[in-house]
């Protein structure tokens, strides 16, 4: 019987294992040094905040693995011998494979700042990071976070939940401004401030200061300002976790290079998820996409290839989501920070300054290419269809109510959005006005 070994038990590796099991009887082993069971990495913050326990973050009960004959091996792997098709664990155990799926995830970036390895300085990616953060923030009265991205804002929320004041250094003009256009990132700026996060835009880290005992006692910014703190969160992005494969036969760039079948340069070795780098990404996608959904989709896809049905990885319309404190964010399609020449955007923002939508379209033919939505939930299925079918802006605005995914009884903003559209555009759309009974009976 074939032995398929999966290195990494994150969403990519586990999804691959589950789908292989659906399709074949091969022997499957998942190896991870991080945790015995699969847990939801995206839920780490909720453990710290006391919304959940570690146990709650496991998507499958512990009996699931044995029932589905998926072997779990908790071990750190020290070496992969691609010639002998063998992995060597830290404790010296040899594990042979017939096919190997690498799903080793990411590592937190560190850019060589002085003091970046002091006690109380860390990123947040793994279960071990979480335990470290738990221990390191016990007596903290001031924290600094460096890096305006998703993990940074999560860390800010985590610390805020324990009443630890946070000074938040971001390089850009606004929060996550390298991904979000200015209007949207300003909206989040305001919300962070509302939550008492001391946001310092266009501020970069110079060095982290030692208290003399190997612990952080403050940071110095490039402007020379010194901020006292006992904890520093370094959340300046992640990079593929490929240290194990340096100096091996595996072709690496930033990540593990894979073809359209997610196959590496070595036969019977595949890479999926955060650690994989597509040699030829589709035009609307990036080569490394370190998000949950991509890990999952690559897992689904590679499972077929591995069991002998070679399948190309063809991600559809891009989508993503996040939550910034209380504001939910979803995006479908492509919303660039800076619009290209032929692109235009329709932007609506709610009076309260906490909800907005931005629809980006091609000016020439008015086809919509993407949406950012904050504070209003949108239906993935509808947007996926609209964007695939290349619907026009007026069509989308007119039918916006069917894309709304907010709970019942929530205030609906479609009429307001449609009125704004009618003010700005010559071709008027009709305003949605469902009756009360239509509303409750749907």
């Amino acid at each position: 019987m074939q032995h398929i070994v999966i290195l990494g038990n994150g969403v990519a590796g586990v999804t691959a294992a589950r789908h292989i099991r659906k399709l074949s009887d091969a022997k499957i082993t998942i190896i991870s040094g991080e945790s015995e069971h699969f847990f939801s990495r995206t839920a780490l913050m909720y453990i710290y905040m006391g919304h959940m326990t570690y146990q709650h973050t496991k998507p499958y009960e512990d009996w699931f693995w044995e029932k589905n004959k998926i072997n779990l091996k908790k071990a750190w792997v020290n070496k992969v011998d691609f010639d002998k098709k063998m992995l060597l664990t830290e404790s010296g155990t040899e594990i042979n494979y017939d096919q190997l799926i690498l799903a080793t995830g990411s590592q937190s970036n560190k850019f060589g700042w002085p003091g970046q390895d002091l006690k109380g300085v860390q990123g947040l990616y793994s279960l071990q990071d979480l335990a470290l953060m738990e221990a390191s923030t016990k007596e903290v009265t001031q924290a600094v976070i460096v890096g305006g991205g998703l993990i940074g804002v999560e860390m800010a929320e985590m610390l805020h939940s324990r009443d630890i004041p946070v000074t938040y250094l971001i390089r850009e003009k606004h929060f996550w401004n390298n991904v979000l256009p200015e209007e949207e990132s300003s909206l989040i700026d305001r919300h962070l401030t509302e939550n008492h996060i001391d946001l310092r835009a266009e501020t970069e880290l110079e060095e982290i200061i030692d208290d003399g005992a190997g612990r952080v006692k403050g940071v110095k910014t490039k402007d020379g300002e010194i901020i006292d703190c006992q904890f520093v969160g370094l959340t300046v992005g992640v990079h593929p976790n490929v240290t194990l494969f340096k100096n091996s036969k595996l072709n690496l760039d930033r990540g593990i290079l894979v073809d359209e079948n997610l196959q590496t340069n070595i036969p019977d070795v595949y890479a999926i998820g955060d650690c994989a780098q597509l040699k030829n990404p589709p035009p609307h996608r990036r080569d490394i996409e370190a998000v949950w959904y991509v890990g999952r989709m690559m897992g689904e896809t590679v499972a077929r290839t591995v069991i002998g049905k070679p399948t190309k990885y063809e991600p559809g319309v891009w989508f993503n989501s996040a939550k910034f404190f209380d504001i939910e964010y979803q995006t479908y399609g492509n919303v660039p920070v800076n619009l290209l020449n032929d692109q235009k955007a329709f932007y609506w923002e709610c009076e309260d300054g906490k909800k907005c939508i931005k629809v980006v379209y091609n000016n020439a033919d008015q086809t919509v290419i993407g949406i950012n939505t904050f504070g209003i939930r949108q239906r993935h299925e509808i947007w996926n269809k609209w964007l695939s079918d290349k619907k026009t802006l007026s069509y989308v605005i007119e039918h916006l109510d069917i894309a709304n995914f907010d709970p019942e009884l929530f205030k609906r903003y479609e009429p307001e959005i449609q009125r704004l559209y009618n003010e700005q555009f010559p071709n008027k759309v009709s305003i949605t006005k469902p009756s009360f009974f239509q509303r409750i009976l749907n």
Binding site: S40, A43, G50, M52, T57, T301, Q378, H380, P407
Partner: protein
Amino acid sequence: MKAIRYTGLILFLFSFFLFLGLFFMSSYTLSEDNYKEIVKAEHRELLDENFESIIGKSYSLSITFVNDINGAIEEVNAQMRTDQKWDQVIYDQYASALTRASTNGLIVENTTLLFILVFIVGTIGSMMFILPQAQLAGPPGIKNNGIFHNALNNRGWIGILIGTLLIIFYILLYFYDAYIMNWIILVDPVQNLINPGAQASQWFLYGFLYCFAVVVMGIRTIIKYRHSKYQIVRTCSVMFFQVAIAFLLPEILVRLNQPYFDFKNMWPLDYDFFDAWHINTLTSAGGLGIFMFAWGITLFAVGVPVFVFFFGKRWYCSWVCGCGGLAETAGDPFRQLSDKSLKAWQIERWMVHGVLVFAVIMTVGVLYTFITGSNSLFGLDTYTFLRKPYGFMIGSIFSGVIGTGFYPLMGNRVWCRFGCPLAAYLGIVQRFKSRFRITTNGGQCISCGNCSTYCEMGIDVRWYAQRGQNIVRASCVGCGVCSSVCPRGVLNLENRDEEGRFGEPILIGNNSVKVRE
């Protein structure tokens, strides 16, 4: 702001401990007159000798007083049984009436003042504790911070303590009401307000405390979920139905000389609806009584299928029902304690449907007796073998002692999930014939587990969400909290065409393979 909260907490704790302390703050002396007035002459003949030592004696604790009375009666009964004088055994429950008449001291003399100190000050204290959260907790949104670090919410010592107190309270309430006469007397002022001259019973006390809990904790729930209009409106609904329909209206009906009737309760939750005494009371009470009887039958026979078809069982369980109302308000801090395991679901299905079957058989037996006048069905006495054990095991122990007493230990829907026959019936309709489902949003689920953690019914919501499958579960009460706590906007309660309700799970976003989980 924080100072206001702490002051409020102190006030509330003062009221709470005063309430507990009141249990001990009366003395009891049975006077000759009261004895003669309350105990029937034919019983007095038998009891006089035994009561001699009780009459005129001052007791400082209700328990010893009640035990002496019950002991005196039981002694006579034991003798009668030995002598096989069955017709002389005393079945009248004298303890409550005698205790009430014999209670004197602080509570009887200062009922109104103590009522204010307990309930008015308690309310003010709770509001001072709860209301500032609208400001202090930050902008509206889900703030479940620290729940699993908290001794109240995570089965810590406070949770265990409160669970124990609740269990003791329910046992006293159901089986030893005479022991808690002090508390019953305490709510006389409210009873008098609604029905001048009437005396509160243990059920009036219970109804009042229930309303108090639902309203005070309902306000907390509204503040906690104030970002969600669904939660606000729903919470207002359960508060209204509890206070107006379940508590005030029946009392007002009594004042108007009409039968006591809770228009929103229904069989089989209302398990004595078909009891002979109940049917007789209603049908002999004129037009309104007949209407009540017809209403009660229509509600479960027509109302359930029709409303569940359009809205799911939530129209009842999390918008109207009293048990649901308490669970969604006072029980909200404990919703995360429900067991989400597959094992628990398996037990749940057997148990809740078992209770439904038991309720149906019990009712058939009771109706058989009512219609034919024969007490025995298949050779078994319908009261002894059906009605009585049902009332004791399901009506009292399960729904009350376990159902509410175990809030801090097993979550706030233990009864609704494992025991309520009405929930089982609503659930069967919801599972097979309804427009209601919880939809999942394409491929947006990140398996974080907030939905499952905060599902009070113990549904592993994530299991469905992460595979893109509609959640169609008999037990779902439609509280909407899974949708509220979802950080990625994945879950939504919807009433839509039945078609596609059981559609195959599909995750959007991957064009390589059509992902059928």
